[in-house]
Subunit: 175 residues, 2 copies
């Protein structure tokens, strides 16, 4: 194994097909990643020709950057905390707007090893905004005990695979 | 192999030690990545406890985002193009300022498969800005023919390893 796609557990051809289909449809993408810290953007940009599709992204690891870089409403962050479906959607919209893309992806969650604000390790939300008014959301939940707690890498990879899947759904849909 | 550090070719202990030393010294980091598209930020945030060190980052894949997100001077970009040592330093400073970190890292280069503005595949610049007025730069050059052209993944991994090394140098230096 010597590519990022294989490490993440998605066939490299699936990512390459996604980039090609988005390019054919002239759709651009941007990311706002907390949980995954840039891993989705790194995966997409490993594909040759991705510069026609990937505008860029925001790694909003510190909570205040979710507001300052991605434009997430401070009241929403205070009320719900950073790991929340509406925060994921706000990150997706922020990525789209701040990076000037057709499609934005927002990723937030708890990779562990510690829970965060009472939210269990393995909880995550992946939201996609656009093109147009289109919205989609995928959620990850921790496995019930006595399941072994997955590693940070496994949780992050699961969320990135969900993002690729949501993007592939959009790419496969007639506009 | 099931971790990002191994894929990139840096021992995971080296990255974990880097995070720990930066945390002990209360130094925070932010990235502005073109060439590597988020791979450095993803590597750093795979380490448990990295949230004490990593503020966030900017993935500035499209050239105009180098200006709008990272604040690189438009005249510099026009005069030199995006793959340039001064652009790398401007990205490092931009990451530091826009993300409110002590240390900024800027990465730009040509991953291929095509050359860019006459600059050969495998050329890259990695700049670090801070803490304080500290500056450092590492450069990658394509191998002379008839060497085989390295893959995108290999070029990106080489640049990320350089960034880890520059950060480790800072972490190991008494302030």
């Amino acid at each position: 194994m010597n590519d990022l796609a294989t490490l993440i557990g998605v066939p490299v051809d699936v990512v390459a097909d996604l980039i090609k289909t988005l390019a054919d449809r002239e759709l651009t993408v941007a990311t706002a990643e907390s949980l995954t810290g840039g891993l989705l953007a790194a995966l997409l940009t490993e594909i040759p020709g991705s510069s026609a599709v990937v505008r860029g992204g925001l790694v909003v690891y510190a909570s205040d950057l979710k507001q300052t870089l991605a434009g997430v409403d401070a009241r929403l962050l205070t009320a719900r905390g950073p790991v929340d479906p509406d925060v994921a959607e706000a990150l997706a919209r922020g990525a789209r707007e701040r990076c000037g893309a057709d499609i934005g992806v927002g990723l937030t969650g708890v990779a562990g090893p510690d829970q965060q604000n009472g939210i269990a390790v393995g909880t995550w939300f992946c939201a996609v905004a656009g093109p147009g008014n289109r919205r989609s959301l995928r959620t990850g939940a921790p496995e019930a005990p006595p399941a072994t707690t997955p590693t940070r890498a496994a949780i992050r990879a699961q969320a990135v695979r969900a993002a690729v899947d949501l993007l592939a759904n959009i790419a496969a849909t007639d506009s």
